[in-house]
């Protein structure tokens, strides 16, 4: 008995660890369809880029009975048992569906029953969802020493844009084909989308926008208008579809994903769903951070650590994972209606490829797009996650510099020259008036420069100025110029 988890990905892995950490000592069975133990899907791009070997993505072993390469074929809710493709069955007290999502195969060149192409297309076609997908594509394109290949990437969503950039950085000729007039149109407004397109072109990615892939031919991808786009390889980045077949066959409520309530329960209270297969509050989040949050919440609920705590609908922050462009998107494309009056902050610097559009209500971020503003992206993610008010100086926030508002710094006379010994300009002046008329005497009288030594130049300059100011004997200035006292030893 115990808990059975269907799916062996990051959500299942996190759930096992969270359950064990919460003190769950019962039996845990993980039934994973992939042949690999759990690995870290968000880093697949690093495998594709050749930064990491595939085995580096393996997550640490979790304390559960893990069956890899095991497909669950059906759920017998009456007898609380799941059946697997190898003929085995596993009884459960609690069943957790963490079946994830599968890549969408657009219907190019004929029907694609059950999401798989009917027959092998005449040009190599890949999706990028699993470790094997990435390894296979990398092998097909050849290692770093291989000749550049022509690759057509279909779909300029997040994965398509990141993949296009990665392949381009590896030296391949990349064409990105997208139906909408600008990339990532589901998340970006036209201005941000155009700036992103411009950046992609600068990087050497060819963009075919407002175009539709219609089929394959030998050595090419067919586009609308019967254009042939020559390609050695086609990579489909057309989004994902929650894997809901098992839930549907078991009679659970399914819309886009497996429907769960605030306690991550499906329509059968003994069955839960988390991660990319789950739909909560009409949203299939589809990010690993959401999957983790749900796993943590479910573990707390199942072990009674947080009885009755409903899962908080996650806040969506999209941060493009590429160094070539700093892009962050907060919240839904359109901020939710009914949240009171809103205020919009915009900033655009076309030649600097910088753009911001923030929708606020009550001084808090409700939705936003940032491009080319990495410091603001970092600061805003935290403010958004905590629902904290934005700093009143919005420009400083966007540029990531200290606010310019408020009082000017210390009055010059009160300002410290030497922090280590608390010596102000006024202190130097007092010492000067008391007769300390050269650097040695000033240092002896005030101890300035004798801590970290960092103010030696400032004190020397002050002394020179004071000397000049007195318009006394010309020799006085020279007194300040020569080698510094022994206590200044080693100072630049």
């Amino acid at each position: 008995m115990g808990i059975v988890i269907v799916g062996g990905g990051p959500a299942a892995h996190r759930l096992v660890n969270a359950l064990r950490r919460s003190g769950y000592g019962g039996r845990l069975t993980v039934l994973g369809a992939e042949r690999h133990p759990a690995y870290h899907r968000p880093l697949l791009g690093s495998v594709l880029a050749g930064q990491l070997p595939p085995e580096a993505l393996t997550l640490p072993p979790a304390e559960a009975e893990l069956r890899t390469g095991t497909t669950v074929t059906s759920v017998d809710r009456e007898h609380r048992t799941v059946h697997t493709g190898d003929g085995a069955s596993h009884p459960y007290e609690t069943l957790v569906l963490a079946t994830g999502a599968r890549p969408r195969w657009p219907r190019l060149g004929g029907p694609a029953p059950d999401g798989e192409p009917a027959a092998a297309p005449p040009v190599p076609v890949t999706v990028l969802r699993t470790l094997d997908d990435c390894r296979d594509l990398r092998a097909a394109l050849g290692g770093p020493a291989a000749a550049p290949r022509s690759v057509a990437v279909v779909g300029a969503g997040v994965l398509g844009v990141e993949t296009a950039m990665t392949l381009r950085e590896s030296g391949h000729h990349v064409t990105l084909v997208h139906r909408a007039p600008h990339p990532m149109d589901r998340r970006l407004d036209a201005t941000a989308g155009d700036l992103l397109a411009e950046r992609l072109r600068q990087l050497g990615v060819r963009l075919l926008l407002g175009r539709t892939a219609t089929g394959y031919g030998p050595g090419h991808l067919r586009l609308d208008g019967d254009e042939r786009l020559p390609a050695d390889h086609v990579v489909l980045c057309a989004g994902t579809v929650p894997r809901t077949g098992l839930a549907r066959r078991a009679g659970l409520a399914v819309r886009t994903g497996v429907v769960v309530d605030g306690h991550l329960r499906t329509s059968d209270p003994r069955i839960h769903a988390i991660g990319d297969c789950a739909e909560q509050d009409d949203v299939v989040a589809g990010t690993v951070t959401t999957a983790w949050e749900q796993a943590d919440t479910l573990a707390a609920l199942l072990t009674g650590a947080r009885p009755g705590t409903p899962a908080r609908p996650p806040r969506s922050v999209l941060r493009l994972r590429t160094r070539a462009v700093e892009l962050a998107v907060f919240g839904p494309p359109q901020p939710p209606a009914g949240g009171g009056p809103t205020e919009t902050v915009t900033f655009q610097d076309r030649s600097g490829a910088r753009y911001a559009r923030l929708v606020l209500s009550g001084g808090r971020l409700r939705a936003g797009v940032l491009l080319g503003l990495p410091r603001a992206a970092a600061a805003l993610a935290q403010l958004y996650d905590r629902d904290a008010p934005l700093p009143s100086d919005r420009l400083s926030l966007l540029l990531g510099v200290a606010p310019m508002t408020g009082e000017p710094a210390d009055l010059p006379e009160d300002s410290l020259v030497c922090d280590c010994n608390n010596v102000s300009r006024a202190g130097l002046r007092q010492a000067w008036q008391d007769g300390a008329r050269d650097l040695y005497a000033l240092v002896a009288a005030t101890r300035a420069t004798t801590g970290c030594g960092g103010c030696a130049d400032d004190v020397r300059a002050w002394c020179a100025q004071a000397t000049a100011g007195t318009a006394a004997r010309p020799g006085d200035a020279a007194l300040c110029a020569p080698a510094v006292p022994s206590t200044l030893g080693g100072v630049k």
């Binding site: 870290h40 968000p42 880093l43 690093s46 930064q51 990491l52 580096a56 993505l57 393996t58 997550l59 640490p60 951070t289 922050v317 941060r319 994972r321 160094r323 700093e326 990495p374 410091r375 992206a377 970092a378 600061a379 993610a381 935290q382 996650d385 905590r386 904290a388 008010p389 700093p391 009143s392 990531g400 200290a402 606010p403 508002t405 408020g406 009082e407 922090d419 280590c420 010994n421 608390n422 101890r447 004798t450 801590g451 970290c452 030594g453 960092g454 022994s486 206590t487 200044l488 030893g489 080693g490 100072v491 630049k492």
Partner: protein
């Protein structure tokens, strides 16, 4: 018998700047010496230290609290007799563990050693720990696990001068040990600190994480090192173990995720690792900022992981180190003040270590108690049914320096007997039943071990005032009254040191080859420095550890498989801000000393709360007003100081001040499971004007 001048060291921090004291016209004058770590420099505290020697309220007589609650001067014999008699009775009625000892990281090696010995064999108690638990314990736990030994800097401070890049994680050295900067002039600095400190202002790159997220940041830096191909694979293969398990944790901390958790831009994370990688010589140094957390040991370990991945430790001109805080923070943790340790950095649970030390002490190993409670647990147990009923405090001021200070004040009040040895009437001494006035730095001989593991001589310029005794004499006076032979508790520092050397011999921190004679002859001796037979040349000491091998049996350093976790007390709607505590240049620790120096008190006269202007405005506060800062444990008052560079979610409080200005009234005693370090650096608070409710 005193000299007209003495070469000694500053009484404050672990840098132990060299000073020369002299007497001129009846006054004591201090000058920086050209000692290697300060090279003629001295900060405000060091220059003004002589003011401590004749502070007007200097304790000059033992004090006994009468039935009316007032302290009355008494003779030494009266005070010591009274303490011994009460200790005997409490021990007879409740067992030896009913008497506890609390030491300090400012005590000399000799005092720390003799205090530990006194606790274990004169009192027979396991209940001894010290304020260094709040200082170095996290880095010590991480360092021991990684390298097999814990020496703050396993290289001389002066090596830093040749570095190209130095990463300072949670260390504000421009305020806590200014002369150290003389060795960092060449290096490009990367500073990790939630505040834009004076140190951060000097940095080539300042990473400003949310308080309590340093562990995520360190994991992210390791992640970057690996994915960018900057990991030193051949070093990792040849000199370390455990990389794969550590990597499996860092795997989940890609830069954009770290950015969301910490607020540090992904590009700055990459820039930081690139700066370390491209440097020919690079160091990673940690301080209390990343260590004083309920995950401090794991955080220090994560920075060690980063250093190991880049191949820094044990390579000439590069390395990892932690910047020790208190004057004898290093030596203080090596000689038996720690609840689980015996002299020489030996484990009290190791049978061989017990046998060795028991032989030096002339007792049966079975008589030695086992490990006791760590500092906070010890203080929190005082006066409870199963806790100690008497406490002896040496060189510490827990009323100000311990987290959740209000609660600890209640525990101290619940004791049957509180004895405090100090040279000023500290906030803790004021609560004591018996106060024992002791000598201070310029009045005594001894040794301290600085942050670089070098043993230094403290030398006497003056006799202590009449009526004041040395701590060693106090310990002997109590030990003999408890039935111990006087010879077992010598009062001459060099005798204690020689015994300490024998007790430490063969341990990780081996001092047995060090003597006052060698130190006084000018030798620079770093431990380990084992004794050698008379017919061999003396051991030269070990300025640099790990060049050939690490101190684990297999010679390899160990990566630690650590993962991030949240602070023990995240901000909530009720307590929406995170308070973090720290030090200012003008003051030292609980301020018991520096608040008595007029110049220092004038520089920073009272506690303040640094906050962003928006944070102040949202709370209805303006610069210069008095704010009340509340946590779930208590409230404290501080003057608002608006600082534009503060994170809006953070409030900073210096912890040196007494009474209602004690930052530790609000801090969270959530303990690190490995080091038992409390979470000084992050607790949830709300702020408001003085008359606001709540």
């Amino acid at each position: 018998m005193t000299a007209d001048q003495a070469d000694t060291h500053c009484p404050y921090c672990a840098l132990q700047c060299g000073t020369r004291l002299s007497r001129q016209d009846g006054a004591v004058r201090v000058e920086p010496s050209d000692f290697s770590v300060n090279r003629g420099g001295l900060c405000h505290k060091g220059w003004t230290a002589p003011a401590l020697l004749d502070t007007p309220d200097r304790l000059r007589h033992p004090l006994l609290r009468g039935p009316d609650g007032r302290h009355t001067p008494v003779a030494w014999d009266t005070a010591l007799d009274r303490v011994a008699e009460r200790l005997r009775r409490i021990r007879a009625e409740h067992g030896p563990d009913a008497v506890a000892v609390f030491g300090g990281g400012g005590l000399t090696n000799e005092k720390a050693y003799l205090l530990g010995k006194f606790a274990r064999i004169a009192l027979g108690t396991s209940q001894i720990d010290y304020n260094g638990r709040f200082c170095m314990s996290s880095a010590a736990a991480a360092g021991n696990a990684a390298f097999g030994v814990d020496r703050g800097l396993p290289f001389p401070v002066t090596d830093l001068a040749d570095a190209d890049t130095v990463l300072l994680a949670g260390a504000n050295v421009a305020e806590t040990m200014p002369p150290l900067l003389r060795h960092l002039e060449r290096a490009s600095l990367i500073v990790i600190d939630p505040r834009r400190t004076r140190t951060a202002e000097l940095a080539a790159l300042h990473l400003q994480p949310a308080p309590g997220t340093d562990l995520a940041l360190a994991l992210g830096l390791l992640h970057v090192a690996v994915t960018e191909g900057w990991c030193d694979r051949s070093y990792v293969a040849a000199r370390t173990s455990g990389f794969d398990e550590a990597w499996q944790r860092a795997l989940g901390w890609w830069p954009e995720r770290v950015e969301r958790v910490t607020g540090v831009p992904a590009e700055d994370q990459r820039a930081a690792v690139r700066m370390l990688t491209e440097a020919r010589r690079a160091y990673v140094l940690t301080g209390r900022g990343v260590e004083q957390h309920s995950k401090g040991a794991d955080t220090a370990a994560a920075f060690i992981n980063l250093a190991l991945a880049l191949g820094l430790p044990g390579r000439p001109g590069s390395g990892y180190g932690c910047l020790t805080g208190q004057g004898n923070g290093q030596g203080g943790r090596e000689h038996g003040q720690k609840a689980d340790q015996l002299p020489g950095y030996r484990s009290i649970t190791d049978p061989a270590a017990r046998t060795h030390v028991a032989r030096v002490w002339g007792v049966d190993p079975a008589e030695l108690p086992g490990p006791g409670r760590s500092a906070y647990r010890l203080l929190d147990a005082l006066g409870r049914p199963d806790g100690p009923r008497a406490l002896l405090v040496f060189g510490s001021n827990p009323v100000v320096s311990v987290p959740d200070a209000g609660r600890i004040g209640e525990r101290l009040a619940a004791l049957d007997l509180l004895v405090v040895a100090d040279f000023v009437p500290s906030e803790t001494a004021r609560l004591a039943d018996v106060v024992l006035p002791v000598s201070q730095w310029a009045e005594e001989e001894g040794t301290l071990t600085s942050l670089e593991g070098r043993v230094l001589r403290r030398r006497r310029l003056l006799d202590p005032p009449a009526g004041v005794r040395g701590d060693l004499a106090v310990i002997q006076g109590l030990a003999t009254r408890l039935g111990q032979p006087a010879a077992r508790f010598p009062t001459a520092p060099h005798e204690v040191f020689d015994e300490l050397g024998r007790a430490s011999g063969g341990g990780p921190a081996d001092y047995s080859g060090i003597s006052y004679e060698r130190l006084d002859a000018g030798e620079a001796l770093y431990w380990p420095c084992p004794a050698r037979p008379a017919d061999q040349a003396a051991h030269p000491g070990t300025p640099r550890l790990f060049l050939d091998r690490f101190a684990h049996p297999d010679g390899r350093a160990r990566f630690a498989a650590v993962d991030h976790r949240d602070v023990a007390e995240p901000a909530t709607a009720d307590y929406p801000l995170t308070a973090t505590t720290g030090r200012v240049l003008a003051h030292y620790q609980s301020g018991a000393q520096t608040r008595r120096v007029a110049e220092l008190l004038a520089a920073v006269p009272e506690v303040y709360a640094e906050m962003h202007p928006d944070t102040a405005a949202a709370a209805g506060l303006a610069d210069g007003q008095t704010a009340v800062v509340r946590s779930r444990r208590g409230r404290m008052r501080a003057r608002v100081k608006v600082v534009h560079t503060m994170r809006p979610d953070t409030v900073f409080l210096p912890f040196h001040f007494p009474g209602a200005g004690r930052a530790n009234l609000i801090t969270n005693p959530a303990l690190d499971p490995r080091s038992e370090m409390p979470e000084f650096k992050a607790c949830a608070v709300r702020i408001g004007p003085e008359d606001s409710e709540g």
